[in-house]
């Protein structure tokens, strides 16, 4: 059986359904907080160990990377199992962060091969955080991420003029302003939207 309905009702229905489909949440805060805390811990450990006699100040990074990758894989698996729809937005964000990971590996590889210094790789990574959070913020219309991205770019520029070991503190600062602070604010937004 099909109900008859007029043009006004038809338009109202379209608006309602589009609004419903749009209000799907992208639970991004989990990843910002996960990587934010891990990278903050990694950089501070690395910076601290530079002032000891320890031969391998980068010792914490493999553990941190593995923990981050496991956390990310679990998060993606959980959200895929829960999501009943695929949005264009989630797809674009996925491409952006995949591109980010490839760029990150490229920068680390260049440093490992001795093509760029470790301090320069730190600065490029900060600028890359800037790009990714700036673009993500624009996509999900979330200003703290946009401002965090701009702040990271400014930190990257300022870091060109500091002693090499202090670029680790620059990463720590960049992670706080572009991942952790926006991450907590985003989590609050997600919570408040869930309660609507």
């Amino acid at each position: 059986m099909e109900e008859q309905f007029n043009e006004q009702q038809s338009l109202k229905l379209i608006q309602e359904m589009i609004e419903n489909a749009k209000s799907k949440l992208e639970a991004g805060s989990f990843y910002y907080l996960l990587w934010g805390w891990l990278v903050l811990a990694g950089t501070l450990i690395h910076f601290g160990l530079l002032y000891t006699q320890f031969t391998y100040p980068y010792v914490a990074w493999p553990v941190i990377m593995v923990a981050g990758l496991i956390g990310t894989a679990l998060g993606v698996r959980k959200s895929k199992a829960r999501a009943k729809t695929k949005t264009y937005l989630a797809n674009s964000i996925g491409f952006l962060w995949t591109g980010f990971s490839i760029m990150l590996l490229f920068i680390l590889f260049s440093a490992m091969m001795g093509k760029i210094s470790w301090s320069m790789s730190n600065i490029l990574i900060i600028a890359l955080y800037g790009l990714s959070t700036f673009a993500s913020g624009g996509m999900i219309h979330f200003k703290p991420l946009i401002y965090g991205g701009i702040a990271s770019w400014l930190i990257a520029i300022a870091s060109l003029f500091v002693a090499p070991q202090f670029t680790f503190l620059s990463i720590a600062l960049s992670i706080i302003v572009s991942y952790l602070v926006p991450g907590y604010l985003l989590r609050n937004r997600e919570k408040s939207q869930r309660h609507v």
């Binding site: 099909e2 109900e3 309905f5 043009e7 006004q8 038809s10 338009l11 229905l13 379209i14 309602e16 359904m17 589009i18 419903n20 489909a21 749009k22 799907k24 009943k84 729809t85 695929k86 949005t87 264009y88 797809n91």
Partner: protein
């Protein structure tokens, strides 16, 4: 003269389905069921009508051993939806002065 409204789209449930799919890359059957509040049988029938018209594509697969139906709007469906909205606004503008 105003264009006729596409009879395939001018039905409450089929229009709801199309309005949801226009904003998403793809959606599962259970999501459409939740949002449209239709019955499973009716939703299946209307999805098949949209599929026969070439407006949507339906992919059947499995997830954790359970059947999974995923629907996606086709380019033909997008243009049909756009034409429908255009025709609709024509009707609404025509009726506006006498609308009480």
């Amino acid at each position: 003269m105003f264009k006729n409204l596409d009879p395939i789209l001018h039905s409450q449930l089929r229009l709801s389905i199309m309005s949801l799919l226009i904003s998403l890359e793809s959606a599962e059957f259970s999501y459409l069921l939740e949002q449209t509040k239709a019955t499973k049988g009716n939703l299946s029938i209307q999805l098949n009508k949209l599929k026969d018209a070439g407006y949507i594509s339906i992919k059947k697969s499995f997830r954790n051993n359970y059947p999974l139906t995923t629907c996606k709007i086709t380019p033909k469906g997008i243009s049909a939806f756009e034409e429908y909205v255009e025709a609709l606004s024509g009707y609404i503008h025509k009726n506006k002065p006498t609308d009480h």
